[in-house]
Amino acid sequence: MKAAVIVFPGSNCDMDMYHALTDFIDAETVDLVPHTAASVAAYDAIFLPGGFSYGDYLRSGAIARFAPVIPSVITEAKKGKPVLGVCNGFQILLEADLLPGAMKRNKHLKYMCRTVDVNVENADTCFTRAYEQGERLRIPIAHGEGNYECDETTYETLKANNRIAFTYASDVNGSIGNIAGITNEAGNVLGMMPHPERAMEKLLGSEDGRRLFTSVYRHWRDTHAVTT
């Protein structure tokens, strides 16, 4: 599997993502791909890390959405390749219209940085297949704008089509239905606020994020099985 971690000016979880992909799964190549790259067509999976792309100056993700690399990310996402956006990456996916809805400031207006309980709502996606349905994970969050908002119709559609991949076990930021992560209709694009790439080692608090990366790898392996 060839993985791309897109680096925007202001990305600060890119090296954690790189670490997760290089040290825990057998990815053939993991490249840090700059936001100016013209294409990510050579990669099997694309990862948008957390941080503060372009300083989040206008609105989180709003400027990154127009980075030169994004049209190619959209093209590859539409081809069905796994695209994961974590935190600021999730916000970019929303702004780029690869996922529905928008982010607002957290309900209590506080930036939050702690480990929370997250429920696996759908263990049947290419990002969650190594988890158990309904499993409770410990995953860190670190965001000021993670209050997920969408209209009632969109929310009903997300529920009806099993597109809510993760929820918070409690109301941490005001998100509709405690949503922590959603997928697109085809299931190959996941946006999530909690940071699985920061939950890779027991020593650092939790290794519950590992299986997300294992899932993507297994999905790739199974869809690219060598037939001789």
Binding site: A102, K104, N106, H108, L109, N147, C150, D151
Partner: protein
């Protein structure tokens, strides 16, 4: 040159946590008459005059300045008088 004033506010019905915090603070200061506060953004653009100014400002709002999922925008154009 034209001055364009763009006002961005959260849509009706979208929870405005900043507005609520400001409202509570005003009440705490004794301004009991304040029932709601909405916090938004004001952007001032100085742009060169041209034939499609309004259409282009509209596009700027849709494309980048506002997030139409949760935000409304209005704008006014102010042409500077030639001296």
């Amino acid at each position: 040159m034209i001055n364009v004033h763009v006002y961005i506010t959260l849509k009706e019905g979208v929870l405005d946590p900043q507005g609520q915090a400001v409202q509570r603070s005003l009440v705490a200061l004794g301004y009991d008459e304040v029932e709601t506060v909405n916090v938004g953004k004001w952007l001032k653009l100085e742009i060169a005059d041209g034939p499609d100014v309004e259409a282009r400002v509209e596009q700027m709002c849709e494309q980048l300045l506002a997030n139409p999922v949760i935000e409304n925008y209005t704008y006014t154009l102010e042409r500077e008088e030639k001296v």
